[in-house]
Point group: C2
Chain length 224, copies 2
Amino acid sequence: MATLAKTRLGSRRRPEQTRAAILQAAAQDFARNGIAGARTDAIARAARVNKALLYYYFKDKQTLYGAALDHAFAQLNTHMMAVLNRDLPPGEKVRTYVGEYFDFIAGHPLNRDLMQREMMRAGHSSAHLQRIAKRYFQPLFIKLGEVIRAGISAGEFRTVDPIQFIPSMVALVVFYFTSAPLMKTVTGVDPLTPERIAARRDAVLDFITAALFREQSTTQGEHV
Amino acid sequence: MATLAKTRLGSRRRPEQTRAAILQAAAQDFARNGIAGARTDAIARAARVNKALLYYYFKDKQTLYGAALDHAFAQLNTHMMAVLNRDLPPGEKVRTYVGEYFDFIAGHPLNRDLMQREMMRAGHSSAHLQRIAKRYFQPLFIKLGEVIRAGISAGEFRTVDPIQFIPSMVALVVFYFTSAPLMKTVTGVDPLTPERIAARRDAVLDFITAALFREQSTTQGEHV
DNA sequence: ACAATCTAACTAACTGGTTAATTAATCCGA
DNA sequence: TCGGATTAATTAACCAGTTAGTTAGATTGT
């Protein structure tokens, strides 16, 4: 019974679980500190695993980083793709998409930071970003672009360019969280309380609605 | 005569210039690689200076990083503060501000990356960010907030909340550049050609105009 | 001659990655 | 079904290369 009782993760002999633990610890460290700042020793410790196991399951630090990235982006892709597959008219679909995207980003700070960090690194045109862009972003981008064009054709939307509109949408959602620490100091208000986050959600939806739709169809004002 | 001919910067005996060279090299490395990724040896080499000089002029890596940050943020602050001090009606002032801000960010990739990187680090609530927020951002934020409130009072703007609107504005400007490498792979188009950047500038101004002004006063459509 | 500026050489600590050995399930023939 | 062989999972200890930071002294303008 002692064999079952000892939940010591380090010697758990559950490869799937071990791998997952490493991946999660890695995601955390990479998200917080970037690939250069993350420490393999720290990751191993956080995963309650001997460091050599990192290299047993993953080739090296780079590969581990890549795996963490893939995991995060795949989650996002799966979730958002499902939203795009719902049967809704363009206007509702875009609004739903923005709302769901906001909720995902708000609820997955790790993924968010990981993605943002990788984007910054990519001046060095990383192979990781290349892969991730093609595999996880392009399908979303294409589908969302179609929805927008449909809304324009239907006369519901202004004639925006998806190649401009989509990054704008992402920007409004993501950047709020990126700038939260700065804004907390500047304004004295913590932007990350549930209430403030909800307010931001409304503001983003309102902002996008105002900029996208031909005639104002929702509540006026960005929020008080 | 050899003493004058040798332009070897390392022994130039121009302390101001040496300091500036170090700072610039540091800014570059920190912007590209973050504080953890930047290498003091590389910075020294790039500045054509012996590594020990970094420690002669700056206490340590952290301090050097802080100095680079301060330099970058001070530049931005000076530039943007001047815009806010121009005598213009709220609507024109906001539009001018956005345009100038866009141009600054587009023209100063180093500063941009430095700022963005520091924001990401600040989950660890860095002392640097604290200082920079208070010294360089708060004044801008307050003044811009006043302009927006004035525009609302004048009935020119919708009743937006500055605490929501300002980050949105920054997001639209900054995030485009952050996501450029990703977007290049996704769309196959390089977002950083002069033409594409100009298109983005228009799109941002249009987007913000549409979301801020009570009645549409400029060109329709976000761009084609 | 003297203080400010600068350098070559060095070090202590750290870090990614390896290795050789250990443990524990599983398989398999008698 | 017993027990030895096999293999997968895991670890302690280690190593070579790197990195921030130091030191002791050299150079140079005034």
